[in-house]
Symmetry: C2
Subunit: 202 residues, 2 copies
């Protein structure tokens, strides 16, 4: 920019999502995992990411619990705060898909309207809603974070599915009934969905 | 998770930043561009990204103007909103560095305190503050978005450096004086800084 002579000659193109996808040899997409606490979202997300990794693909997990330690540390658990939590995670996932990555977002995301808003951020074929479907009874029995125990003892409020709403997806792209399928089976189902996306675009 | 028999045997490791970096053969880092509107942040960011691309590296630009259309669409231009704008961009950049990418964040980020907060999100050697240093006079003459014209006519308020503060970095890692160096020279300087990071870690 010396003398304002910006060298447009040298830098005449922008690197877009298609270029990134082509170089990485993958289809950028967001797998959005919704389900109760304890449903198995993180467990399956980690297994799926490892399976993708073994195929040489570039991935990223955006986990709501982790994001609440940083980007969303200012948010509580009321209706509006939950929507804002989901909205921000959606935008982060969108930016990562634009960067060419296969994104696995894990968020209880209890409200249908919020999940629909997130879907609207993506192009057709770039968003896969995954309902990690596990009964409240089983989630409360697994209780990996001790949340249901705390809720039972009256020390925790606004737990989705317990004393706060969880609106089940009416038409998720994938439903993983974790009381009936293993992690391995869930990963195979997700991988098939990923491969189907790719086939559609070819 | 059939019968709660989670297959920890198969999926026993997590994919971390070091593994991603090794596979991508690059050093994940955030280059944080601060400077007035019209200073040349986006121009240099795009040129730098293209130079990195030609070296086969995986990059991502997080541009405050673009983010204000999405993640930060709810924020205004007052003191607190600007800080929140910068805080969120910082966390997004951090997540992308964790995903293994070389991130170029462009944000006026007028307040030193906010920039220091962002730096604190990163490990040592993962954050490079780049002051895109251009006089207000030159920025107002370039005026690529017509903001200074609107401010002059009284149609725009809270323009950093005009009628709102811009606190110059006291000790940026890199200062690019765009009235004295070309885009090409700026890119060379940034690339040398990137290579130095790598050398330090090897």
């Amino acid at each position: 920019m010396k003398n304002d002579a910006i060298s447009f000659m040298t830098y005449s193109f922008a690197i877009d999502k298609a270029m990134r996808a082509a170089r990485l040899k993958q289809t950028p997409v967001c797998f959005w995992f919704t389900g109760l606490s304890g449903a198995g979202k993180s467990t399956i997300a980690n297994a799926f990411e490892q399976a993708l990794w073994h195929r040489g693909l570039q991935t990223c997990i955006v986990d709501a619990d982790a994001v609440r330690q940083g980007l969303n540390a200012d948010l509580g658990y009321g209706r509006e705060a939950r929507s804002e939590n989901v909205r921000r995670i959606g935008h982060v996932a969108r930016l990562m898909v634009d960067a060419g990555l296969i994104v696995i977002a894990c968020s209880i995301s209890p409200y249908s309207q919020d999940r629909q808003m997130v879907r609207s951020l993506f192009n057709e074929g770039e968003f896969v809603e995954v309902f990690v479907s596990t009964s409240l009874q089983t989630c409360a029995a697994r209780d990996p974070k001790g949340l249901y125990a705390r809720a039972r003892q009256g020390h925790l409020r606004q737990l989705s599915g317990w004393d706060d709403p969880y609106e089940k997806p009416a038409a998720a792209d994938i439903e993983l009934r974790t009381e009936h399928v293993s992690v391995d089976e869930a990963v195979l189902q997700l991988m098939a969905a990923y491969d189907a996306l790719h086939d559609e675009q070819v």
